[in-house]
């Protein structure tokens, strides 16, 4: 009897000690100085609330995150929490590498209540087989940032002459671009070249085109629309009006410097936060403004740039205990959405936040919101990155190699059709 009692005590002690044991949650994210400061504070607060939990935050360059996380997951040693762009997340979801949301740990009664807290369509990119995956870190759409001083230097009035259509964009850029012979010394505007699904595909969609036909069989739907956009890019590049091309320095980063190199660039609301950090003088100068994503004159769809997001995900291979704590920590972070907006300029699309004065009072937030309301979500497909690369090859061919847009289109159609037909 005594032995039995002793055994019972040992079992109880073991069980309770295992509950009290330290749980270490590994969280991988990308570099962002302002967000790092904020999240480190949340980690400290969360650890103080739950002394048995330790959060280990590891950050890396945004451009490396996709490769690092993929490599870790392929070796079955992925972090407990990570965030990636929506286009990259789809493969993790369909392959069962991330777990569906845990409503209880997120402090809601059920998934419906959780979804209802966010703006319409927020979870569209992370919904699969009726399940919802992840917590939104940010939802972004791109508009045009204008340096008003440089615009005026070119003899134009930014308030009235800013480009509303892509045709006007070409016209205005021709007036504002400065060159030394063939070499551009001041670009009026340039595209964000690797992100063809976010900014170029919407241009095609404005004209009624798409990657796949509505019946899902034909690649590069509405060739006329694609041809018009490829011709536009040809005219933009070195074989046309020489207004810019992918070999010049990244337009978005150059724009922040206000050094006379870049007048307009394409970016999201987060650009304001980065501008504030990189060049506070320019931020406070009142010499910049944001205008909507242009639309073609003969557009059949009034669309902004595609919206995309970053979602926090929880590793499905982590232990149940770790998963539960991971969701709890994410719930704690999403509870501070106002601070993410105020200090990092990241919009977590929570209804109350989007409707708040804080959001409404942010410079040009209304421009982003109005464009967002008429935007499509970025194209999500397991082969999305492959298709984006093929679009990139077509754009580079017309802009840099002087390939005829019709020939580039023919090759693009063949390549994308091959990807769609390839049942690997």
């Amino acid at each position: 009897m005594k032995q039995c009692f002793l055994f019972l005590i040992i079992v109880v002690l073991l069980v309770t000690s295992s509950f009290a044991a330290n749980v270490e949650i590994v969280y991988w994210t990308h570099t962002d100085t302002a967000r790092t400061e904020l999240e480190n504070r949340y980690i400290e607060e969360f650890e103080a609330m739950y002394p048995n939990v330790t959060i280990k935050r590891v950050y890396n360059e945004a451009s490396k995150m996709g490769d690092l996380i993929l490599t870790a997951f392929s070796g079955n040693v992925g972090p407990d929490i990570f965030n990636l762009q929506t286009e990259q997340l789809f493969s993790y979801i369909v392959n069962g590498r991330v777990s569906p949301v845990d409503p209880k740990a997120l402090g809601v009664k059920n998934v419906e209540e959780y979804v209802a807290q966010y703006s319409k369509g927020t979870f569209q990119p992370v919904t699969y087989d009726g399940e919802i995956y992840g917590v939104p870190l940010e939802l972004t759409n791109w508009c045009i940032f204008i340096n008003k001083r440089l615009f005026r230097e070119g003899g134009l009035n930014p308030e009235t002459d800013y480009p509303k259509t892509w045709e006007e964009m070409m016209e205005v850029s021709e007036k504002l671009t400065q060159r030394n012979g063939e070499i551009i010394t001041r670009r009026a505007f340039d595209f964000r070249y690797p992100y063809y699904l976010v900014s170029m595909l919407p241009m095609v969609q404005q004209l009624g085109g798409d990657i796949i036909s509505p019946d899902g069989k034909e690649a590069i739907y509405n060739e006329e629309a694609w041809l018009k956009v490829l011709t536009y890019f040809r005219d933009w590049g070195i074989h046309g009006k020489n207004l810019g091309n992918p070999t010049y320095t990244n337009a978005r980063k150059t724009w922040n410097k206000d050094n006379g190199d870049m007048i307009m660039c394409l970016s999201g609301l987060y650009q304001e936060g980065r501008l504030k950090t990189d060049n506070p003088e320019f931020y406070d100068s009142g010499e910049w403004m944001v205008v909507p994503f242009p639309v073609f004159e003969d557009a059949v769809n009034d669309l902004g740039a595609a919206s995309y997001g970053h979602f926090w995900m929880v590793n499905a291979q982590s232990s149940k205990t770790k998963q539960e704590w991971a969701w709890k920590f994410l719930d704690y972070m999403r509870g501070h959405a106002e601070e993410f907006l105020e200090y990092v300029y990241l919009v977590q699309p929570i209804k109350t936040l989007v409707e708040s004065d804080l959001f409404k009072n942010m410079p040009y937030s209304n421009v982003f919101l109005e464009d967002l309301e008429k935007s499509n979500s970025v194209y999500i497909n397991e082969n999305g990155k492959m298709i984006e690369e093929k679009i990139g090859i077509a754009v580079q061919a017309v802009m840099l190699s002087g390939t005829d847009p019709a020939d580039a289109l023919e090759q693009l159609k063949k390549d994308v059709q091959e990807i769609l037909d390839d049942s690997y």
Partner: protein
């Protein structure tokens, strides 16, 4: 009895030899041999990098797909352009530079250090430096325009197919020329001086001394450098990767290794990427074998 003892000593020596090489053997087995075997295995399977399902055996399907893929043949072509454009100049100029440095009575060490220093830099840093040089407003255009008195001309270093290929060749040539020069210098230093002295007494000039004495005796080093530089060129990756990531067109410089990376990491098709790496391995083995076989026919030794 004595023979038995000798055998025992040798056996003992061999045992210690094995013990000493065991750590590197284990290291090689885990980090090189296992991945090679695994790549062969995966090349016959369909496997998504993120899938938790076991690889599915598909026989030679990955190879059949690659042989019919225009993308793969474009990579073969890009690799061929790069290898021929880099490996031959590397071989020729590193030999010339080594002969030049060895002919100097002063500043030999300085020249060795100066030429070798780019090899110490990481490929990433080298590519970033050269991206700045090749920028339309960079040193590349400025230098050529000053040289040819052609202000404002954009030579499109990173834009047109030919210039882009040339740019990657320049980066690689700049980075590795010093490395192979040092190998040639070591080879030239190992040739006994008496042979040159005898040749000069017999009336040979410097030119004849190089072609009739130095060069024939340098054949093993030439073979070593040609095999090493060719393999290096066939394996080139980081320059092309960084260039494409920075916005240059990918098609002209989509070398096989870059295609392997994209197929595995971007497309998650690890089976197909493995098949491509096996094919690259076979290509390297074939050309290395050919070079070794070709060089054996005219071996030269000291008398």
């Amino acid at each position: 009895m004595a023979r038995h003892r000798k055998f025992g000593m040798e056996h003992n020596k061999a045992k210690w030899g094995i013990i000493f090489i065991l750590p590197s053997l284990i290291f090689f087995a885990v980090f090189s041999f296992y991945p090679i075997i695994n790549a062969f295995y995966l090349s016959f399977h369909r496997k998504d990098l993120l899938s938790l399902r076991a690889p599915k055996f598909i026989g030679f399907d990955n190879y059949t797909y690659l042989f019919g893929s225009s993308n793969f043949w474009n990579s073969v072509l890009s690799t061929t352009f790069f290898t021929l454009g880099t490996f031959i100049p590397l071989l020729v100029f590193s030999l010339i530079l080594a002969a030049f440095i060895m002919s100097r009575k002063r500043f030999q060490k300085f020249f060795q250090m100066a030429f070798y220093s780019p090899a110490v830099l990481s490929s990433v840093v080298a590519a970033v430096i050269w991206l700045l040089v090749f920028d339309p407003r960079g040193l590349g255009n400025q230098m050529l325009n000053t040289l040819f008195n052609s202000p404002g001309v954009d030579h499109k270093w990173l834009a047109t197919d030919t210039m882009l290929r040339l740019s990657t060749i320049i980066v690689y040539f700049w980075k590795y020329i010093g490395y192979f020069t040092i190998i040639f210098i070591a080879g030239i230093s190992s040739i006994p001086k008496q042979l040159h002295e005898a040749a000069y007494i017999d009336g040979a000039n410097i030119w004849q001394g190089f072609w009739r004495v130095t060069f024939p005796l340098l054949k093993p080093t030439v073979l070593l450098v040609s095999v090493m530089s060719m393999i290096q060129c066939l394996k080139t990756f980081s320059t092309q990767y960084l260039f494409t990531v920075s916005g240059t067109p990918s098609k002209p410089i989509n070398v096989i290794t870059l295609n392997i990376y994209n197929t595995a990491i971007r497309d998650h098709r690890i089976g197909r990427a493995s098949a491509m790496s096996v094919l690259l391995f076979i290509i390297m083995l074939f050309f290395t074998g050919m070079q070794i076989k070709g060089s054996k026919s005219d071996d030269v030794t000291y008398m």
